[in-house]
C-alpha cells in the first residue's frame, strides 16, 4: 500500500494545481446535481401546496425556476471543465510517471536491463503503467470529490431540513458506502493479482505456442502445449469470474445502500412532517438530495475493485533499483607513466556471469592509441563477455584491467563512459529522426558532424536517399535494413569520440566489400582511439594491428 501511496503522490505532484481545480469542479458537479434535484423537489412540493391552499398567485416562481435552469446549465458547464482539467492533469501525471520509471530503470545495471528487452517483459511494464493511470482518475479524485461533497451536503441539509436528516444521509453514505467499498477493495486484493498473473501467463503461453508451433508439431508436443494453454485459460477465466462476482456483488450492495438510505430518509422526513417539525417542501429536499447523492458513491466501485491491481503495479513499477556498486573515488588523473597506453589487461581470468567455471584464463595484452586489436574465436568462447568486462559491465574473476594506466574500478561511471564506448552485438535505435538518434551520443550535434560520421560508415547516401538527417525512423529504428541499422549504431558510437572503442561483431549483416570500407572508415574517423573488435570476419582480422585468438586462453579442464 505504501507504494500505491507513493504512486498517488507522484501523479498528483505532476501538476497539483490542475488536480485540485479538477477535484473542485468535480465537487461542484456533484453538488449542483444534488442541488438541482433538491431545488426541483422543493419547488414542486411548495407550488403544489400553494396551489392546494389557493395562494398560487402570491408564490415567487421566478427565482426558483431561474435557479433550476441555472443549475442545469451550470452543471453541464462544470462537468465539461472538470473533464478537461482532470484529463489534462492526468496526462501530465502519466508523462511524469513514465519519466520516473525511465529514471529508475536507468539505475539498474546494463546487464540486467538487457533482459528487459523481451516482448513479454515490455508488455508487463505497459500493463502496469496503464493500471497506475487509474490511480488518480478512478480512485483519488472520485474519493476526494465524494468526501468533500458529503461534507458540504451535510451542512446544507442541516441548515435547510433537520439535523436528523443531515446525520442520516452522511452516516448512511459514509458508513454504508464505506463498508461496501472497503470490502470490495479487500476482497479483490489477492484476486486481482491472481487474475493479472493468469492473463500474463495466458499471453506468454499463446506467444510460445504460436511462435513454437513448428517445433511443437515436429516434436509431437502440440497436445502438451495446448493442454498447458488451456489450463492457463481456465485459470484466467476462473479468477476473472471471481472478480466479476465480487464486482457485481458490490454493485448490488451499493444499490441496496442507496435504496435503504433513500427509504430511511423518506420515512424519517415523513415522521418529521407528521410531527410538524418540518414543512413538507423542506422535507422533500432531504429525500431528493439523499437520492441524488448516489452519484458520489457509484463511480467509486470500479476504482476500488482495481485497487489490488494498482497496488501490485505500483510495487513493480516503483521497486527500488538494486544497491549501487561501492562509490568510486573521484576521477583519477591521467597517469604519466601510462604514456599512450590506453588499455592494458594483466593476467585476466573471466567466468561467465554467475558461473565459477572459467571462460578465459591468464590473458594479458596492451593496446596503444591508434592501434586496433581483433579478438577472434568461435562463438561461445567469451568474446562478448570480455568486451563487457572491459566496459566495466561484468566483474573479472582474477587479474586487472587498466584504462589509461588506472584500474577500471577507479573510474567513476560517467568518466568511464566518456572514455570507453561499447557497441554490443544487439544495439537498439530509437524512434525519431536519424539526427535525433545520432544526437543521443552528442547533444548539440551539428548536421555537418553528423554527416561526417555517416560518411565514415558508408551511410551518407542511404540517409540522403531517405530524405536526409531529419527523415524519421520507426520504433526501434524500423525502416532501416539490418545492415543499415548496424552502421547507424556504429556512426552513433563514433560521435562519442571515445579513447577506447569496443565493437562486438561490428560488420554483421554487411557484405565483404562494405565491411572492409566500414572498418576503414571507423579507423579513419577515430585516428587516435584504440579499437577492439570481436569478430571472426576477414574485414576486422585483416586490418588489425594485433589479433588474439581466445582459443589459446581456454583454461585446461
Amino acid at each position: 500500500m505504501l507504494r500505491l501511496w507513493q504512486a498517488l503522490r507522484l501523479l498528483w505532484r505532476a501538476h497539483p494545481l490542475a488536480m485540485w481545480r479538477g477535484a473542485l469542479l468535480a465537487v461542484l458537479v456533484l453538488l449542483m446535481g444534488a442541488a438541482l434535484l433538491g431545488l426541483s423537489g422543493w419547488f414542486i412540493t411548495a407550488t403544489g401546496m400553494a396551489g392546494l391552499a389557493g395562494v398560487g398567485i402570491a408564490f415567487d416562481v421566478f427565482r426558483p425556476s431561474a435557479g433550476v435552469r441555472g443549475l442545469a446549465l451550470g452543471r453541464a458547464a462544470a462537468r465539461y471543465g472538470e473533464r478537461l482539467l482532470t484529463h489534462d492533469a492526468t496526462l501530465r501525471a502519466l508523462a511524469a510517471l513514465r519519466v520516473t520509471l525511465l529514471d529508475r530503470l536507468a539505475r539498474f545495471p546494463v546487464t540486467e536491463l538487457r533482459r528487459l528487452r523481451g516482448a513479454s517483459a515490455l508488455t508487463r511494464i505497459t500493463a502496469d503503467v496503464d493500471a497506475l493511470d487509474g490511480v488518480v482518475l478512478r480512485l483519488a479524485l472520485p474519493v476526494a470529490a465524494a468526501l468533500l461533497t458529503h461534507l458540504v451536503a451535510f451542512f446544507g441539509l442541516w441548515a435547510l431540513t433537520s439535523h436528523a436528516i443531515a446525520i442520516s444521509v452522511a452516516a448512511g453514505y459514509l458508513l454504508g458506502g464505506g463498508v461496501v467499498l472497503w470490502r470490495v477493495a479487500r476482497a479483490t486484493l489477492g484476486h486481482s493479482a491472481r487474475a493479472e498473473d493468469a492473463s500474463q501467463d495466458l499471453r506468454r503461453r499463446a506467444i510460445g505456442l504460436f511462435r513454437g508451433r513448428r517445433e511443437a508439431i515436429l516434436q509431437g508436443t502440440m497436445p502438451r502445449w495446448r493442454a498447458g494453454l488451456d489450463a492457463a485459460e481456465e485459470e484466467a477465466r476462473t479468477s476473472m469470474d471471481h472478480l466479476d462476482r465480487i464486482d457485481t456483488g458490490a454493485g448490488q450492495a451499493l444499490s441496496a445502500v442507496v435504496t435503504l438510505i433513500a427509504a430511511g430518509v423518506f420515512a424519517l422526513a415523513g415522521w418529521l412532517v407528521a410531527q410538524t417539525e418540518l414543512s413538507p417542501a423542506l422535507a422533500a429536499i432531504g429525500v431528493f438530495v439523499a437520492l441524488a447523492l448516489a452519484e458520489t458513491l457509484l463511480p467509486l466501485r470500479r476504482g476500488m475493485a482495481e485497487i489490488g491491481r494498482m497496488r501490485d503495479a505500483a510495487e513493480r513499477v516503483l521497486a527500488d533499483p538494486p544497491a549501487r556498486a561501492p562509490v568510486r573515488v573521484a576521477a583519477p588523473a591521467f597517469s604519466p607513466e601510462a604514456g599512450d597506453r590506453i588499455l592494458e589487461l594483466r593476467h585476466l581470468s573471466l567466468a561467465r556471469p554467475g558461473r565459477s567455471r572459467l571462460l578465459l584464463h591468464d590473458l594479458s595484452l596492451g593496446l596503444r592509441r591508434g592501434e586496433t586489436l581483433a579478438l577472434r574465436g568461435a562463438s561461445g568462447l567469451g568474446k562478448s563477455t570480455l568486451l563487457d568486462a572491459i566496459a566495466g559491465l561484468e566483474p573479472v574473476t582474477a587479474g586487472e584491467i587498466l584504462i589509461i594506466g588506472q584500474p577500471l574500478a577507479a573510474w567513476p561511471e560517467s568518466g568511464l563512459r566518456d572514455l570507453v564506448t561499447l557497441v554490443p552485438q544487439r544495439s537498439a535505435l530509437v524512434s525519431g529522426t536519424v539526427l535525433e538518434n545520432l544526437a543521443l551520443a552528442q547533444p548539440g550535434l551539428t548536421d555537418c558532424e553528423a554527416m561526417a560520421a555517416l560518411e565514415a560508415v558508408q551511410l551518407a547516401q542511404v540517409v540522403h536517399a531517405r530524405g536526409g538527417l531529419r527523415s524519421p525512423l520507426g520504433e526501434g529504428g524500423a525502416g532501416l535494413s539490418g545492415g543499415q541499422a548496424r552502421r547507424l549504431v556504429l556512426a552513433r558510437a563514433l560521435l562519442r569520440r571515445p579513447k577506447l572503442l569496443l565493437l562486438d561483431e561490428p560488420t554483421e549483416g554487411l557484405d565483404a566489400t562494405m565491411a572492409r570500407q566500414v572498418i576503414a572508415g571507423v579507423r579513419e574517423f577515430l585516428k587516435d582511439a584504440a579499437i577492439v573488435t570481436a569478430s571472426h570476419r576477414a574485414a576486422e582480422l585483416a586490418t588489425a594491428d594485433q589479433v588474439i585468438d581466445l582459443k589459446r586462453y581456454i583454461p585446461e579442464s
Binding site: G41, T45, T47, L52, R79, R211, P223, R226, L260, A428
Partner: protein, 557 residues
C-alpha cells in the same frame, strides 16, 4: 446513433456462441425490466410525499417507504443477475472464440505472424467483452425504457411528454453532428495515448545502449519534451471529444429543468395547458412529483448507450480481424502434432510429381528418392524451393498434386505424426522455447542427457558455458544461445532420441569456418552410421559430404 429497427447481423454478432446469445437476450431483458422498476419506485415516493401536503397519516409514508425499499432491493438483484448473465455470455463467447482460433491456428503456418495471432487471442478478443456486457444491455434498455416512460408520462401530461420527446431524440441529432467529429477525435485520442506507451517501450528497449552512450539524461529530457507535445495534441482532441458528451448532459439537464418548471407553474394554476383535464384543470402534486422523478431517468438509457458506443466499433474491428486471420492462415499441416509410436519400415523418402502453391506462385518440386541410410544435398538459389521440399518431407506442408511416400507409406494425416517421430529437423531459425536445456534436449523435465551425445555433436562447451548447465532455462527471458549453438543442440537432441531421419535447412549459414566445419563433420558422421540425411545448402563443403546432390532451378514454374 442506433438505428432502432432490427439491425443486420454484424460480424461481431456472428461471433456470439448460440448459448451465449440466449443468455445475452435473457440478460438484456432482465436489465431492462430491472431498470423499469424505477417507475413503481418513483410512484411510491411521489405518493408518499404528496400525502405530506394533504396531511395524510404517517402510515402512508411508511408503507410507501417499505414498497420503495423492497422494489429497490429487487431492482439491485435484477441488475446484478443481468450483469452476471451478460458476463457469462461474454466469458463463454471469448472461450469458444479462443479455442476456435487455437484449433485453427496451431496447426498451420503462414499468413498472420505469431505475435499478431497471440495478441488477437489475448487482448484483442477481450475487447468483445465490454461490447457484450455493456453495449448490448444498454442497447436493450435504450430500446425499451424511453418508450415505457413515454407510456407512463403521456396520460398525465402531453406537454411534459413533448418536452422529453423533443429533448430526447435531439440528443442523437446533436450527437450525430458533434459526434462525428468526436468519434474521430476519440479514436485519435486512443492512438495518441497508445503512442505514449510505444514511446516508453522504445526507450526501455534502448536503455542499455543509452546508458553505454551516457545518454540516459539527454534521452529522458527528450522523452519529457515529446510526452509534453503529445499531451498538447491530445488535449486539443479531447476538447472536441468532450463536447459531445456535454451536449448530451446539457440536453438531459435542460429537459429535467423544463419539466420541473412546467410542473411548478402547472401546480400553481398559472399554466392549465398540457394535461388532458382528466384529473381537474392542472396537475396534481403526485403527478408533478412523479414526472420530476421520471425525467432524469428518461435520459439515462441514452446516456448509457452513448457511453458504450465505442465498444461496438471496437468489437466490429476485432471481428473483422478474426475473420481475416481465419482466411489468411494458410493450409493445415498433416497430422495433429501428437507424440505417437514411430512409423515402421526402413527410412526411405520418395517424392513424385509434387507441386504446391507457395507465396502466391506454383512451385513444382523435383522428384526425389532417398534410400534408407542415404544422404542428399539440395542445392539451388534462394526461392528455388529447398526449404519447401524439406517441409513437404516433414509433413509440414501438404502437396496439392503428386505423392510423398515415406518408409514405404503414403505421407498423410494418419501417418504424419508417426513419421515425424523418426525425424530430427534443424531449421534455419531455431525456436528455443522457455524450458530448461535438459527438457529441450531430452523431451522430459528430468530426462537424461548422455555426455556421449553432447560430445559427438561438439556441444559440450555450449552446455559448460551456460550459467546453470543443463538446468539453464532457455528462451526469450532466459539465457541465450547463438543460432549456430542452437543448431548443434538440435543435433544432440537427434542423437539422444535416436532419430534416424535428419533434415537440415542451411545448417552452416552465418557460422564461422571452424564451427561450420564441425557441423559438417557431425552431419557426415550421422549419415555414415546409417541415418537418412537430407540437407538444403549451398555450402560446397556440406554438399560434398553428402552422398548425392540435386540442383534446384530458381524458376521451377
Amino acid at each position: 446513433m442506433p438505428s432502432v429497427g432490427a439491425p443486420q447481423r454484424s460480424r461481431a454478432e456472428r461471433l456470439l456462441a448460440p448459448a451465449a446469445q440466449r443468455r445475452l437476450r435473457h440478460a438484456a431483458r432482465l436489465s431492462a425490466l430491472a431498470a423499469a422498476l424505477w417507475l413503481p419506485q418513483a410512484a411510491a415516493l411521489a405518493w408518499g410525499i404528496a400525502g405530506w401536503a394533504e396531511a395524510a397519516p404517517l402510515a402512508r409514508t411508511l408503507w410507501m417507504a417499505l414498497i420503495f425499499a423492497l422494489l429497490g432491493m429487487l431492482r439491485g438483484w435484477g441488475e446484478r443477475h443481468a450483469a452476471r448473465l451478460a458476463y457469462r455470455a461474454a466469458d463463454e463467447t471469448l472461450h469458444v472464440r479462443r479455442q476456435a482460433l487455437l484449433d485453427h491456428g496451431a496447426l498451420r503456418f503462414g499468413g498472420t505472424s505469431s505475435a499478431a495471432l497471440a495478441a488477437l487471442l489475448t487482448e484483442k478478443l477481450a475487447t468483445l467483452g465490454p461490447w457484450i456486457t455493456r453495449y448490448r444491455p444498454a442497447m436493450a434498455r435504450a430500446r425499451l425504457l424511453p418508450l415505457l416512460y413515454m407510456l407512463a408520462i403521456l396520460p398525465i401530461s402531453w406537454a411534459a411528454a413533448l418536452v422529453l420527446l423533443v429533448a430526447g431524440p435531439l440528443i442523437p441529432v446533436f450527437m450525430a453532428l458533434v459526434g462525428m467529429a468526436a468519434q474521430e477525435a476519440s479514436r485519435k485520442q486512443m492512438v495518441e495515448v497508445g503512442a505514449m506507451n510505444t514511446l516508453l517501450i522504445d526507450r526501455i528497449a534502448a536503455l542499455p545502449d543509452l546508458l553505454l552512450l551516457n545518454a540516459a539524461e539527454a534521452s529522458r529530457a527528450e522523452f519529457a519534451t515529446r510526452a509534453e507535445a503529445l499531451r498538447e495534441r491530445t488535449m486539443a482532441v479531447l476538447r472536441v471529444a468532450f463536447l459531445s458528451s456535454t451536449v448530451l448532459e446539457l440536453f438531459s439537464a435542460l429537459g429535467v429543468a423544463m419539466v420541473a418548471v412546467y410542473v411548478g407553474f402547472s401546480l400553481l394554476g398559472e399554466i392549465t395547458l398540457g394535461t388532458w383535464g382528466l384529473f381537474g384543470p392542472g396537475l396534481t402534486l403526485f403527478q408533478g412529483l412523479f414526472l420530476l422523478l421520471l425525467a432524469p431517468d428518461f435520459f439515462q438509457p441514452l446516456r448509457d448507450l452513448a457511453a458504450a458506443w465505442h465498444d461496438k466499433a471496437a468489437a466490429e474491428a476485432v471481428a473483422e480481424e478474426v475473420a481475416a486471420a481465419e482466411v489468411s492462415l494458410g493450409a493445415p499441416v498433416l497430422g495433429q502434432g501428437r507424440r505417437v509410436p514411430p512409423l515402421m519400415g526402413p527410412a526411405s523418402i520418395l517424392l513424385q510429381g509434387v507441386a504446391l502453391e507457395r507465396g502466391g506462385r506454383r512451385l513444382v518440386l523435383p522428384d526425389v528418392a532417398v534410400a534408407p541410410g542415404g544422404s542428399l544435398a539440395l542445392r539451388g538459389p534462394s526461392g528455388s524451393g529447398k526449404s519447401t521440399l524439406l517441409e513437404v518431407i516433414a509433413g509440414l506442408l501438404a502437396p496439392e498434386t503428386g505423392e510423398v511416400l515415406v518408409a514405404g507409406q503414403r505421407l498423410e494425416s494418419d501417418t504424419a505424426d508417426a513419421w515425424r517421430a523418426r525425424i530430427a529437423y534443424v531449421p534455419q531459425q531455431v525456436h528455443v522455447p522457455e524450458v530448461t536445456l535438459r527438457e529441450f534436449l531430452s523431451g522430459e523435465p528430468e530426462g537424461a542427457v548422455p555426455r556421449e551425445a553432447l560430445r559427438r555433436a561438439r556441444a559440450e562447451r555450449i552446455v559448460a558455458a551456460l550459467p546453470e548447465g543443463l538446468e539453464t532455462v532457455l528462451g526469450e527471458s532466459g539465457a541465450g544461445v547463438s543460432g549456430g549453438e542452437a543448431r548443434r543442440l538440435l543435433l544432440v537432441r537427434a542423437l539422444i532420441r535416436g532419430a534416424d531421419v535428419i533434415l537440415a535447412d542451411e545448417p552452416t549459414a552465418d557460422l564461422d569456418a571452424a564451427t561450420g566445419a564441425a557441423l559438417v563433420e557431425v552431419l557426415a558422421a550421422l549419415a555414415s552410421e546409417g541415418r537418412t540425411v537430407v540437407v538444403a545448402s549451398h555450402d560446397p563443403a556440406l554438399c560434398a559430404a553428402m552422398g548425392r546432390v540435386i540442383d534446384l532451378q530458381a524458376d521451377s514454374c
